[in-house]
């Protein structure tokens, strides 16, 4: 069955952008996600699927960011976690 008009984008989360010193990649994931949840008017507990979009090698001195990391730091337990490819 066609997916036409069955799903919608209901939240968008931004962060500071450009050259932003002293921040980890994980911290940007957390801030963007928290802002998207707020924008949509949801609670973090509502999020039951989390997809980390694109996968890059870790920045020097940082651990690899995983969707599990992001979920744990947000304090949520999604039923579905996924890591996109590069």
């Amino acid at each position: 069955m066609s997916l036409k008009d069955k799903y919608a984008i209901v939240g968008v989360g931004y962060t500071p952008q450009g050259k932003v010193p002293d921040r980890t990649s994980l911290s940007f994931h957390l801030e963007a996600t928290a802002n998207a949840i707020k924008d949509a008017g949801l609670k973090k507990e509502d999020i039951d699927g989390l997809i980390a979009y694109r996968h890059f090698p870790p920045c020097p001195g940082e651990p690899d960011v995983t969707p599990q990391h992001i979920a744990q730091h947000l304090g949520i337990e999604p039923s579905y976690l996924s890591q996109d490819a590069n």
Binding site: A8, G11, L30, A32, A36, I47, D48
Partner: protein, 290 residues
Amino acid sequence: MLDAGICNYVVITYGHSALWGGGMAQMLFQMTRNEAAFGHFGAVGGYALAARRAMHEFGTGPGTWQRIASGQRKWAALNPISVMGKKPLAEEDYFKAPMAADPFRLVDICLVSDGGRAIIVTSAERARDLRQPAVLISGMGQQNPSREIGQARYMAGPTGAKKAGKEALQMADVSLKDVDACQIYDCFSYTVEITLQDYGFFGPGEGGDWLKGGTIEPGGSMPVNTSGGQLSEAYFMGLTPIAEAVMQLRGQCGDRQLGPQTQTKPPEVILASDNGGILQSHACFVLKKG
């Protein structure tokens, strides 16, 4: 996951200390493989190769790409969070910019940005009860013709955009005539040209004429990359174009909002794209005001 009923609200998130943390350099080092022996390092050399082939095959070139880079910079000037908005890019500024990887000047290449972006997807029914005006995913298409540019049969296109675009429009049951604006993945200025060409907005090599007179700029008939895009706003992969398409359809874009204040059509339907590798994978979305 949503369709199977396993999830109700899916977040898609991106974050990268790409500039200050050196993350993008790590990614580009990883991309450098056997073709480095031929001068292809990272992504710039690969796209430059494809663009050079396109110059030979259908006669495009910097004259066309300048209209894209300068046009997007005009949108960036209306976006307070854009990285390049305060630096105008007139035609002469474009041609004075340093050559990075021939035929690309520095201003043909996207930004490297620290930051993140996230979106939340749910069912159209649930969307009606939420805070923001819903933006419907009306159609989508994906096409991944090769893994590496060296293995691509047609270096100058058609890229995956051709089939992905057709599928997305077909699913949404609309044609290009119904599209009010485009948010195109713009890792390079040339990527915008080849994507719009493969979607069918103009024939091969006709991009320069199509862009003439500010077609994609404020006041133009087909606004493209209205946040400034990845060339002039910030680079968050496909979430730069998708986020902007959503915000425009919600009518929350301030000074750059499509409609009477930018002498453009109030948007009902926006095409958005994502692209991976050196033009190897392509995703097209038709987003519609709910």
